[in-house]
Symmetry: C2
Subunit: 328 residues, 2 copies
């Protein structure tokens, strides 16, 4: 039986899910739900209908799992509990500090509706979290380090755009090579925010704007830039379009730790990602976890789950026998 | 309740398990079982007794999980089914081709005894297998690459020792940098055995031995060396002891794959290990999975499992709340 997937919210992430479903023959796109006028939303998959979001409520029998593709700031805190009552759901909620609260809300709703809800799938939280956990369990005495980039930070790009005189901007977060090397050496260094990452900004200014003031306002912006070494490049709109249209990202999770009766042996575990498209990679993870959610629901499980609660075999369309033979 | 762990077989791996238990305060070493004369086996932990292996059978109520530290060639195919009938067990069975057969034997025994048995824990099979699986599920259209080293291969070192005129030897498996770089570029290269790894041998010859013959016999040895570029260094016994006493290892699992409606975006996922002590790192993994096995058994599960069947949260002594707050 093909798994019937709904997409709720059709932005970069929703479109990424649509693409990923093409690569998973045991799953199919059943419907897309949008807050916009459905007539105005053109999707890529032929023969699949776009619905108004409020039509979802009556379609519980047509969707095995709903992938919620809204934002973490305002959409998901409302949508995930709401739809977890009606469907099995997966989201990519990524406000780390608010995960416990989100989990509690979603858990209550999913249990009430008898569904499985998986929150915070993606790469961080998600794949990076898994690697932090596995590494800590294997090397209990050690230290985890997470580095992000090189990649586009949407939040920081938006912050620059709010500076007076800025027309458009793109911000890259870049891990500092010397910090990475220090961590890989196994020396367990203490690293400040400034030592771990730099920030590089490409800014299109409005004509006649005071570039020195813009640069200063960016570099001293609290929370976003003041704790970092920041570089600002002023470029033309054409250059921005030509050289900075992609949404690449990536990063590193590294743990170094000791073993041995006298802690005489060092070990370094490193996981890294180099991604051409941040949203498409995140979407691909959402789709793999959507498969797992449907299986867990079929077994009679209910409630909220995270990547920590999912046995890896549930992510694969292959049988246990195939996995043991081919991948173990 | 502290988890009471038995160690069956006290070589490098068993000693590694003993060390790892010191780093996991929710677990304790309950007993060591050996085929040798127990009087002759000195262990590191004070106050813990060494037993003859046949005494294990009557100690089912004193051991929550038995970690089997024998070898894959002849010990584990017999021991794991045998002890899975009496205990929850974990082993590091690493003969990839024989895993399906071993799984079937152990599964039948564990179900008969009402226990959980986890086989093939370690780093390959084990952590590397997990990374191959996660990466394939997230990027279904792509290719997995596994590289081993730089590290000591016990099997290849033994093979050299069997050459006439060789007193002792140490063999290092080394991944080829150019191959690693080609894989990281996302170009999905086809790589031959020779292109992926080289082999470096440090050999202590007997006095008066024909070094040219030894070198030639090593380099042309079928299965072990003939398909590789092999370097042979003759050194003294003192140099071997001084420079090659450790058992380091490591390696890389890399997957590159495409996403997007027209597969226009590339992604690279890389996992790597750099280990000072291969047996101690493997032992640390066995201990984490021993914790998981006890939990799964408490839930009423039975039968044979692999790392693919274990939800990551089971490996940690932390609660779900703690994990979500600290690690997600």
């Amino acid at each position: 039986m093909t798994i019937r997937v709904g997409i709720l919210g059709y932005g970069n992430l929703g479109r990424g899910v649509e693409c990923a479903l093409q690569q998973n023959p045991d799953m199919e796109l059943a419907a897309v739900f949008t807050r916009r006028d459905p007539e105005s939303v053109k999707i890529l998959t032929e023969g699949v209908k776009v619905y108004r979001i409020d039509e979802a409520e009556s379609m519980g029998d047509q969707i095995d799992v709903m992938i919620l593709c809204g934002g973490s700031a305002t959409d998901l805190p409302v949508q995930t509990p709401k739809y977890a009552e009606m469907f099995n759901v997966v989201d990519s909620f990524d406000t780390h500090a608010k995960i416990p609260e989100h989990f509690a809300d979603v858990d209550a709703a999913a249990k009430k509706g008898g569904h499985v809800a998986l929150i915070s799938a993606g790469w961080d939280p998600g794949m990076f979290s898994l690697n932090r956990l596995y590494a800590e369990c294997v090397l209990p005495e050690g230290k985890n380090y997470t580095f992000w980039g090189k990649g586009v930070s949407q939040g920081h790009s938006d912050a620059i755009r709010r500076v007076a005189g800025v027309k458009d901007a793109r911000q890259y977060t870049i891990p500092v090579d010397a910090a990475l090397e220090a961590v890989r050496s196994g020396s367990n260094p203490e690293l400040t925010t400034r030592q771990k990452h730099t920030r590089e900004c490409f800014v299109v200014a409005e004509e006649g704007a005071d570039l020195a003031r813009i640069e200063n306002e960016i570099k001293t912006m609290p929370n976003y830039f003041d704790e970092y070494d920041t570089t600002v490049h002023f470029i033309t709109e054409e250059e921005l379009m030509r050289d900075h249209a992609g949404i690449p990202h990536g990063g590193f999770v590294i743990r170094s730790g000791k073993t041995g009766w006298n802690r005489e042996n060092s070990h370094v575990i490193e996981y890294s990602l180099k991604l051409d498209s941040n949203p498409e990679f995140t979407s691909s993870i959402l789709v793999a976890y959507a498969r797992a959610v449907v299986r867990m629901a079929k077994e009679g499980q209910t409630g909220c789950k995270t990547v920590f609660d999912v046995a890896p075999a549930y992510l694969s369309s292959k049988s246990g026998e195939e996995l043991r033979k081919e991948m173990l």
